[in-house]
């Protein structure tokens, strides 16, 4: 029997290749957040003229949202891929092999985390090209890559849990708009102190996505802000922990049904 790391490595490689080889999966991950960034950064540039806006570059402010959107596309792609494997019977055949149970999902999630780092690198690069200024400097890059990877892992695991629970790619796709609402009702477009509508300010303050966005954003516009960073990492780690717990529970249910 091969070692756990070999099993996880093989399945992680498969997971990455499955996404990288399908342009219709890569397009939303790479281009959709960048298109939205281009449109929003141009359309909302006037916001930098508001008193109290923390930077004169809206693109530096807004690029953080791309990392979260990329993470949410990981949820859809990972969940859909796993649901396809369940629908086609591949997952069940895999479960009948001597492969360790933990490898079944760990391989997939390692692939997701690696893709998360890769997509974050693309956003950083495109941000630089578009004129975003990384105030934290080069040292901020690995922090963004780690946070991007963790975010993708958290959302990807949530996609896995949904796929294991429902076994349907369509149902997983149906989750996307729900999670998009979390981005809309956050501090994605304006800093929280400039959200003047009372209820919206309250919702954005309670919405964990605000803190995730602010974690990425702080590196771009404030340099090293420990409070924003620990909150961002806390949300990413919390999301990952909750998602992995959901994966463990749904996995047990799925394999029992098998």
């Amino acid at each position: 029997m091969t070692s756990l790391s070999t099993q996880v490595g093989a399945l992680a490689r498969r997971s990455m290749l499955k996404t990288l080889r399908q342009p219709f999966q890569m397009f939303p991950i790479v281009f959709f957040p960048l298109i939205l960034l281009a449109v929003n950064a141009s359309g909302l540039r006037a916001a930098t003229r508001l008193p109290g806006f923390p930077t004169s570059s809206y693109i530096s402010f807004a690029i953080a949202v791309a990392f979260i959107q990329g993470g949410m596309f990981s949820l859809i792609n990972t969940g859909t891929n796993l649901a396809e494997d369940i629908e086609s019977g591949f997952f069940h055949r895999l479960a009948l092999t001597p492969l360790r149970r933990v490898s079944l999902i760990a391989g997939l999630l390692v692939g997701v985390a690696a893709l998360g780092a890769l997509q974050s690198a693309v956003y950083i690069l495109m941000g630089v090209v578009a004129g975003a200024h990384l105030d934290a400097g080069v040292a901020g890059v690995p922090v963004i890559l780690v946070l991007g990877s963790l975010t993708a892992l958290g959302f990807g695991a949530l996609g896995c849990a949904a796929a294991l629970r429902t076994g349907s790619g369509e149902a997983v796709q149906g989750l996307f708009p729900l999670f998009f609402v979390f981005i809309f009702l956050s501090s994605s477009n304006l800093p929280r102190q400039l959200l003047r509508t009372g209820w919206f300010h309250t919702v954005a303050t309670w919405n964990p996505i605000s803190y995730l966005i602010e974690g990425f954003r702080s590196l771009y516009i404030f340099g090293w802000d420990p409070t924003a960073l620990w909150r961002g990492f806390a949300v990413a780690i919390g999301l990952t922990a909750v998602s992995l717990l959901a994966v463990a529970v749904t996995m047990r249910g799925r394999l029992q049904r098998t």
């Binding site: 298109i35 939205l36 449109v39 141009s42 359309g43 909302l44 540039r45 006037a46 916001a47 003229r49 508001l50 149906g174 708009p177 609402v181 809309f184 009702l185 477009n189 304006l190 400039l194 959200l195 003047r196 509508t197 209820w199 919206f200 954005a204």
Partner: protein, 286 residues
């Protein structure tokens, strides 16, 4: 098709199967067949829509989320130097949400048509319909009725949350008239795609161009406050005239109203040709 009387779709395989390209037989040229088919499809479409929460709920929730997010989350933009809109920022954003909801009601009906092709229902419909143009017209009526529900709810919520309307009654008739034309613009494009591809996988092709056109307009602030490439693009984007006209109508300070109606009418003519040629493509496909 339980509500459809036998006469709605002609007799047996006759007219639908043997008609000339375009699908209308001599008997149907009076227009009676066209409307019978259209009204039956419209009834079925609306019936399905209101009975299926998976269709009904998202079409209501998304415009409301956009309204909440843009009007609520970006209200500070109303105090950007140079921003003057008499009816306030909620009304400013409401017009965008109204236009977007109208276009998307049309697009989602295109999705329904594509899904009906995938399930085989639309093919059977094409065999049975007395006048196949009635199919296109019927789905257009579905789009309009879906939009009527969505726009009523969005308007009610916007008014309940304090949106100010400073335009008069005639202006509002103009605003909702423009929205109705935008439903047909969205539907014309999406149905043309659906008739050609006959698969829900063409969904992104229906949605993405319209999404981009809408967002490459002055969504958050007026055109005068946009700078750089987005200003150049928005200046020639027909969606800018829709938003300007809509905002003019809701505030009573008219802006590009004639241009917006002309653009919408022009796009409807263009997309009707696109849609009917798509219908012909569906008729001739194996």
């Amino acid at each position: 098709m339980s509500p459809a009387p036998a006469s709605t779709f002609g007799s047996g395989t006759g007219s639908g199967a043997t008609s000339a390209p375009g699908g209308h037989s001599a008997a149907a040229t009076s227009g009676g067949g066209l409307w019978r088919v259209a009204l039956t499809i419209a009834w079925r479409g609306l019936h399905t829509y209101v009975r299926r929460p998976d269709l009904f709920v998202p079409s209501l929730v998304f415009p409301l989320v956009f309204l909440a997010s843009f009007a609520g989350g970006l209200s500070a933009l109303g105090s950007v130097p140079g921003f003057h809109f008499p009816a306030g920022y909620t009304a400013f954003q409401f017009v965008f949400v109204l236009c977007q909801s109208a276009v998307f009601a049309g697009l989602f009906t295109g999705f329904t048509l594509a899904f009906d092709f995938e399930s085989g229902f639309a093919r059977r419909l094409m065999l049975a319909a007395e006048d196949r143009r009635g199919i296109a017209l019927g789905y257009a009526l579905v789009a309009l009725s879906r939009a009527a529900i969505t726009l009523s709810v969005v308007t009610a919520v916007a008014l309940a949350t304090g949106m100010r309307v400073t335009g008069d009654g005639i202006d509002l008739v103009g605003l909702y008239g423009l929205a109705a034309l935008l439903v047909l613009v969205g539907y014309g494009w999406a149905a043309g795609v659906a008739f050609r591809f006959r698969s829900i996988q063409a969904g992104p092709l229906m949605q993405t161009p319209m999404f981009l056109i809408l967002f490459l307009a002055p969504v958050y602030v007026p055109l005068g406050l946009l700078r750089g490439w987005i200003h150049a693009v928005a200046s020639v984007n027909p969606a800018t005239s829709f938003l300007d006209a809509g905002r003019g109508l809701i505030s009573g300070v008219h802006d590009h109203t004639g241009l917006a109606f002309a653009c919408a009418a022009g796009l409807i003519v263009l997309f009707t040709i696109w849609l009917l040629s798509g219908l012909r493509s569906a008729e001739t496909s194996p």
